[in-house]
């Protein structure tokens, strides 16, 4: 989804959590803001987070210099259905996880090797046939990248990734304030 292909260095990479009203059009408002103003999106995930499905949390991984990231947050915050914007990367300790489903089609040595590598990574087998596996792995995006790269060298693959979700460490609860 990235609008520029430059790799995101750790220093200017930000994971931003946006809590929004779960109303129709809100996702297009958020995405439209990024495309309309030329900001990067490396990853975007969204799902409702309360029992009545009225509030959603969008996690966006983006990048830019300090002024751009400050702009991104200010622009997000001023969208009417946005309750709050939190820059997890700026606040320090946080957890980022992503999930991938990786299908590999391979036989013989490659197939056995794929299973061994999956074991090393801690991937679970979600589906198997005599000539394929679907692995299910979660962890940091980097870990997923590494796993996928190895799988790719062992056979034909198909991948589905969830995109990053992120949460602060510690007892602070962000959405409680909103």
């Amino acid at each position: 989804m990235s609008t520029s292909s430059a790799p995101i260095s750790a220093a200017n990479r930000h994971a931003i959590a946006v809590v929004v009203d779960n109303e129709s059009g809100v996702l297009s408002k958020v995405i439209g803001l990024f495309s309309g103003r030329g900001y990067n999106i490396e990853s975007l995930t969204v799902c409702s987070i309360n029992a009545s499905d009225t509030v959603s949390r969008i996690t966006i991984v983006t990048s830019g210099d300090d002024m751009t990231v400050e702009q991104i947050k200010a622009q997000l915050a001023r969208l009417v259905p946005v309750h709050g914007v939190e820059d997890l990367s700026q606040q320090g300790e946080h957890i980022e996880k992503e999930m991938a489903l990786v299908k590999i089609v391979a036989k013989g040595v490659e197939r056995r090797e794929a299973l061994r590598v999956a074991n090393i990574f801690g991937a679970k087998v979600s589906d198997t046939t005599l000539s394929s596996f679907v692995f299910n792995l979660s962890g940091s995006s980097r870990k997923l990248d590494a796993f996928i790269a190895m799988m790719r060298s062992l056979g034909e693959i198909e991948i589905a990734r969830s995109g990053v979700v992120a949460l602060n460490r510690g007892e602070e609860v962000f959405s409680r304030h909103r």
């Binding site: 297009s28 408002k29 309309g36 400050e70 702009q71 200010a74 001023r78 969208l79 009417v80 909103r178």
Partner: protein, 587 residues
């Protein structure tokens, strides 16, 4: 939930009345017929039938900007909605509170490419502050009230409410507007006390301060203008205003340096360039104001007051950030300033004397001077005469876009806010006439003049018919140079004088055109005819088109060519400067 014997359409009318709306601008069509039917059966809301939905949007803008209230337009689905898009975008860029109600095909047809269906909320997502598609009659009344609250609060802007036709027919519960606001949207309002003290302290030690104020002051309300004037009076700091901010302080104030930016005065731009502390209030460092960014006020400490957090640090890094309503912030700043040590103010007074001496030197350059002619009407002269003829009247000015707009901004003085309505951010040709209609409706007894160009006026000429129907005595003062003058000026500067398509052959005879619409047409071709034509225009009790045939080759100076800095102004009397390649890229 009170009475549920109303239809959705009746709820719309009731909600508008309860919001204090007196008139709405609109154009009927299949998808809004239930609302038109409800309008027909009441007499509290006045409906102004425009001739094109773009006209409705600009008229609503003009009404809103002059009155300070929310402007309302009602248009049908599909082409009705898409025709309103330019006006919505204009309102977004100039922070004008309007609510646009659009009809939509019935819910079960949405997504089927039904007749006159368009994805209105999708199309207007990027040109509204917020938009809604109302899917249930139960939320209709609340949504409408919320739309008004969002349009007028914080940084104002346009809000679209898209209403499927079946929702208009369905029975819908009504709720009154009392205390209805968005569940979570809370724009900033009061300033941070510490930042205000910091700002006051920074201003107190400034040797070359300047106040740079914009439309945020006007939008905040008259109290903001009063506070700003008091601040200028008590500090004796020079002040410059943006195109959107004109009227924010009386232009007769000695400390007022005129407008700044691309066509700003020599003294305003140089004072900006050389200042050491800049107080920016309700302005957003637009590229028409800053010129080349890396040379913008290079030595200044910058204080930025803005109600929109995303305006702060967007273009120019602010040293002191005050995210608040301009009026509240100015009031606090004034209060803190008054409590500051007198001896420091006295010391500053001495530094200010030198700063004013410098500014007065720049002022002597008289950068708005022009040579009046007795054969050809100079456009600036035409505006000066208009000023003279109207100076003892309550007058409100709108404009189109181009040279005439800049000359009007330079030469028409405004003593009060909300007297000047121009399309600043979007620069929309065709804005001025419909806007004037809106202004005239808000102030029926005042003199409302659209200072126009002959090219721009043709973009929404049809609205003269609206003015005539409603007996609105708007005056259109066309500075007719037969060119898209501003385009021609850029072609002269940047493209070797190759005037591609900027000359309009076959212009209509504006006098006959006015008559065809049932308005009055007047023409002046010589300077000696000007005063008489202006007098007739003012005296005529109805709408007038005055065709003022001006010098075709006059250019608008001063000018900071795109990509140049504030101290690289062209004054019009020297050799033409080279424009950098980077500058040519800019619009």
């Amino acid at each position: 939930m009170s009475s549920s014997s109303l239809t959705g359409a009746e709820v719309v009318v009731k909600a508008l009345i309860d919001q204090g709306v007196e008139c709405i601008f609109g154009y009927p069509g299949g998808a809004v017929l239930p609302i038109y039917d409800a309008l027909f059966q009441q007499n509290r809301l006045r409906h102004i039938l425009v001739r094109h939905e773009q006209g409705a949007a600009h008229a609503a803008e003009g009404y809103a900007r002059a009155s300070g209230k929310v402007g309302v337009l009602l248009v049908t689905s599909g082409p009705g909605a898409t025709n309103a898009v330019t006006g919505l975008t204009d309102a977004l860029l100039d922070s004008v509170p309007i609510v646009c109600i659009t009809g939509q095909v019935p819910l079960h047809l949405i997504g089927t490419d039904a007749f006159q269906e368009c994805d209105t909320t999708g199309i207007t997502r990027a040109c509204t502050k917020h938009n809604y598609l109302v899917r249930r009659p139960e939320v209709l009344a609340r949504t409408l009230h919320e739309a008004f609250s969002i349009a007028r609060s914080g940084r104002p802007g346009p809000v679209v409410v898209d209403l499927p036709k079946d929702v208009q027919f369905a029975l819908a519960p009504y709720v009154a507007p009392d205390n209805i606001r968005h569940r979570t949207y809370r724009p900033p309002s009061t300033p941070d006390a510490r930042a205000i003290v910091q700002a006051a302290e920074a201003l107190l030690v400034a040797k070359k301060p300047i106040i740079y104020a914009g439309g945020g002051v006007i939008n905040s309300g008259d109290e903001a203008s009063r506070c700003l004037k008091s601040l200028v009076d008590t500090t004796n700091f020079p002040i410059t205003l943006t195109l959107m901010g004109l009227g924010g302080v009386p232009s007769s104030m000695r400390q007022f340096l005129g407008m700044l930016g691309m066509h700003g005065t020599f003294e305003a731009n140089l004072a900006m360039h050389h200042c050491d502390v800049m107080l920016c209030v309700g302005a957003r460092f637009d590229d028409r104001v800053t010129g080349r960014l890396d040379a913008f006020a290079p030595n200044a400490q910058k204080i930025h007051i803005d109600i929109d957090p995303s305006s702060i640090n967007k273009i120019v890094r602010a040293d002191i950030k005050i995210c608040a309503d301009a009026g509240l912030a100015l009031k606090e700043l004034l209060r803190v300033w008054q409590s500051l040590a007198q001896d420091k103010k006295t010391a500053q007074g001495k530094a200010l004397v030198r700063w004013w001496q410098q500014i007065d030197e720049w002022r002597k350059r008289n950068s708005l001077a022009f040579r009046a002619d007795d054969k050809k009407i100079q456009p600036q002269e035409a505006i000066r005469r208009l000023v003279q003829a109207t100076q003892h009247r309550a007058v409100r000015i709108t404009t189109e876009v181009g040279q005439h707009q800049m000359w009007a901004a330079q030469h028409f003085p405004f003593e009060k806010p909300r007297r000047w309505m121009t399309s600043g951010g979007l620069g929309t040709m065709g804005y001025g006439l419909p806007a004037a209609i809106g202004v005239q409706l808000a102030y029926p007894r005042e003199l409302v003049i659209d200072i126009a160009g002959e090219a721009s006026i043709l973009m929404n000429m049809q609205e003269l018919s609206t003015a005539v129907q409603q007996r609105l005595p708007v005056k259109v003062f066309i500075l007719n140079n037969q060119y898209m003058g501003m385009v021609r000026q850029w072609q002269e500067l940047l493209h070797g004088g190759r005037y591609a398509e900027s000359y309009t052959a076959s212009l209509p005879d504006f006098v006959k055109l006015a008559e065809a619409y049932g308005a009055r047409g007047l023409r002046a071709t010589k300077p000696s005819e000007l005063d008489d034509v202006i007098a007739q225009m003012i005296e005529h009790p109805g709408a007038v088109l005055a065709d003022i045939c001006v010098d075709q080759h006059a250019n608008c100076f001063p000018m900071i060519p795109s990509g140049a800095a504030h101290n690289e102004m062209l004054l019009g009397d020297e050799q033409q400067a080279e424009v950098s390649d980077d500058g040519k890229m800019l619009v």
